[in-house]
Point group: C2
Chain length 316, copies 2
Amino acid sequence: MPARQHLLDASIVHYEWNNAIPPRLEIDPGDTVVFETRDASDEFYNPNSTHDDVMRRVFKGHPLTGPVRIRGAQPGDVLAVEIIDIAPRASFGWTNVRPGRGLLPESEFSKPFLQIWDVTDGRYARGLRTMRNIAVPLAPFPGVMGVALDDAGSHNTAPPRKNGGNMDIKQLTAGTTVYLPVWVEGALFSIGDAHGAQGDGEVCITAVEMNARITAKFELLPARNLSEPQLRMRGAPARGIDGPHYATTGHGPDLYQCARQAVRHMIEHLVRERGLTREEAYILCSVAVDLKVSEIVDAPNWIVSAFLPEMVFQGK
Amino acid sequence: MPARQHLLDASIVHYEWNNAIPPRLEIDPGDTVVFETRDASDEFYNPNSTHDDVMRRVFKGHPLTGPVRIRGAQPGDVLAVEIIDIAPRASFGWTNVRPGRGLLPESEFSKPFLQIWDVTDGRYARGLRTMRNIAVPLAPFPGVMGVALDDAGSHNTAPPRKNGGNMDIKQLTAGTTVYLPVWVEGALFSIGDAHGAQGDGEVCITAVEMNARITAKFELLPARNLSEPQLRMRGAPARGIDGPHYATTGHGPDLYQCARQAVRHMIEHLVRERGLTREEAYILCSVAVDLKVSEIVDAPNWIVSAFLPEMVFQGK
């Protein structure tokens, strides 16, 4: 049977991982599916939304398009999902700071902040109203991709797990294949939470969030028995990101605290050297700054580094 | 006074951070220094060294070339050190697995292993005797760079600290400037532990270790009051690294354990798909695989990813 292409629109979504959710679509290995996905706010925000709207938003789980049942998929197999294409399905994206969520505590960020981005040219997320001199290169990917778990019942979509889920791995752009372990018969794949741009770590817990259209091709690798997701990129990470980079570091015995410290230093740097507000700086870290584990073997201190591509200030 | 260029050879080194060590050289801001540095084994290894030699090596601290006193440097200033050039000062580099050291425990790596690399062409570290089909692109940088601490007495060189030190930040290649906070009058800068190539994280605790010649230019930024090192790269990280990448992931509530898990998966992958021994795979992770913090905000699970540039298998 020749490979087919299917379409799943965003008219129906689910907000949990639950292996009892009936599949919306059944496909064969080799098939391609075009998914329309809703942004993480479930279309709560619009381009005129304000900072005050942040606290009005209720998060009931990422809206996911699916599930797709893959014929023949069995526990122990691996589902290879190649991202063929991903593009905004909206004129705007958004990023918000919500006190008490994200890497830095409420004591440091007590005010809600909403950033709206213009993504209409398909190349950059450009600040609207605020951060107007900043243009973050778009490198869209699905924040959430996964298969059903083998534990019955409802599992919230926030944490990543052995089924993939909310991995927020920014390298899952077009041209990348993710290898997901299959936990239930038929795999039951769902996808959503598209990010137009994100730094490694997504520190304020939101990226350039947007509605999207994602084309993915499915293959089945029998009996591969992966225990956690893996991926292969066709090209190098951070293609298209060039020019000078500025980096801060945080050292200490705990990687989480190192990351916090590196991000704090980057925020201070952006406020002092680039004139951003603290909230804008935190948001820029989330959408463009990459956290790297620089040092993890020379006890008692490790280092996490935060790398900022300065091309975001070129206002392209 | 015009800027001058100085030379510090590797005939005298020191093996600790101690602000009582008298400076070997005094320079002005704007001056350049060519440092000859010894490898982390203090020239214990040679190209004919064997696995058995690993346990005979005694580590008494990284041999550091310096200190250099910078006239006018005061606590609260920042010493900007631009790496102008760095090149091997030897025909070979080495990487070793020493049981009980590095990211993975002795229970998983109980045998010592020594990898010798040919670095004579200046472009790649090519496996000698073992890993002969592997060529890791050279991107040399100093593993250790720092200034004296304001605490009196001897401090071992292994952990990175607020003075820099053993940062192992692989992006400190030629063209990068590191900003080091000054803690004592004159700064007292030292450098060593050159790495020909390294992955973010240097997971087996050694990189492509080699003797080197490093040219660095010094500037003083008065009263900047950084609390930890920062850096600026002229270009993008990982320049020259292209083509397909394979990545593994580790998820869970602790970033350190996530990193261990991602590295274990990468080792399994390299053994199964590329036919390396476990020790070779661990070494390849240390010299070429980058650890990224992919997810750090969606409790209870974070993700650390390990990215391998597959160009190392092209045998260039």
